[in-house]
């Protein structure tokens, strides 16, 4: 058994396996967030992949904002369980939702 396997076996044995944090991609193409709604857990990271030649944002009214430059990606690690609707501040007709479980 490799050291890594041994470690996994040990952590399993004492039951402290942390939930694996995931990175979830949201693609932006032609001013559309897809998927428009994402289910995630606190600690997961959302990565917005912007295929447009336009800058966009993911903005929560009265909350956080992520700038997403043209043809680039931007990420946010979700801190807490909450359901938030976000939009693009430059094009408020672009809308998305994050449903974050604990």
């Amino acid at each position: 058994m490799s050291k890594r396997h041994l470690w996994i076996a040990l952590t399993l044995a004492i039951g402290i396996v942390p939930a694996q944090a995931e990175t979830i991609q949201v693609t932006i193409d032609k001013l559309v967030f897809s998927p428009a709604s994402v289910e995630a857990k606190a600690g997961d990271t959302i990565e917005w992949v912007n295929k447009d030649v336009f800058a966009h944002t993911a903005t929560v009214k009265g909350g956080w904002e992520v700038m997403i430059p043209p043809k680039k990606s931007a990420s946010l690690t979700l801190q807490k369980a909450e359901t938030v609707d976000y939009f693009c501040r430059f094009h408020p007709n672009m809308k998305g939702r994050l449903v974050v479980a604990p």
Partner: protein, 174 residues
């Protein structure tokens, strides 16, 4: 005859679709490309006027967004017409749009401060509304090339976004 023309023009102005209403026939793809490009250039010119004149950060930020987006769309339009070997063709609608925009800029240039900001942003709302209407009812349905149609559809989403953005800025100025 003169009276008749004046009455028609007045009716068009009232409907707020004056420049677009003058094209009686369905525009061709080279004309549509020219109209869409011109519509973008007009908004960039208005934005540059605002960047030079306004002291309001929200207004200047908005104007910078307009320059950035419309230049990006127009760059895509230029790439597309080159690829399709289409030469954009000047036409009565493009000319009427440019004329109306030049008149509007002259009006705006005379205003200062909060009066300028309000007039610029209100005009942005009205202008984007007008272009959206033309894209939806005339330009997109008339486009025959699929790639041109698709670019116009993206352009429509951009313009609709700008209309909402402009409405938001107008709300902040109150």
């Amino acid at each position: 005859m003169l009276i008749r023309h004046t009455a028609t023009l007045a009716a068009m102005l009232l409907l707020g679709t004056a420049p677009f209403a003058q094209a009686a026939d369905k525009p061709t793809d080279p004309q549509i490309a020219h109209i869409a490009y011109t519509a973008g250039v007009i908004d960039v010119e208005a934005a540059k006027l605002a960047i030079g004149k306004s002291k309001n950060k929200d207004v200047v930020d908005f104007a910078n967004d307009m320059v950035r987006d419309h230049e990006a769309v127009n760059l895509q339009a230029l790439d597309l017409v080159k690829k399709l070997k289409v030469t954009p063709e000047d036409n009565a609608t493009s000319q009427a749009l440019s004329k109306a925009a030049a008149d509007e800029r002259a009006k705006l240039a005379k205003l200062e401060g909060a009066a300028f900001d309000k007039a610029y942003v209100d005009n942005e709302v009205a202008y984007h509304k007008q272009v959206n209407g033309a894209l939806e009812t005339l330009l997109i349905p008339s486009a025959s090339n699929a790639e041109l149609k698709s670019l116009l559809e993206t352009g429509l989403k951009i313009f609709q976004g700008h209309e909402q953005h402009a409405e938001h800025v107008a709300g902040m100025l109150k």
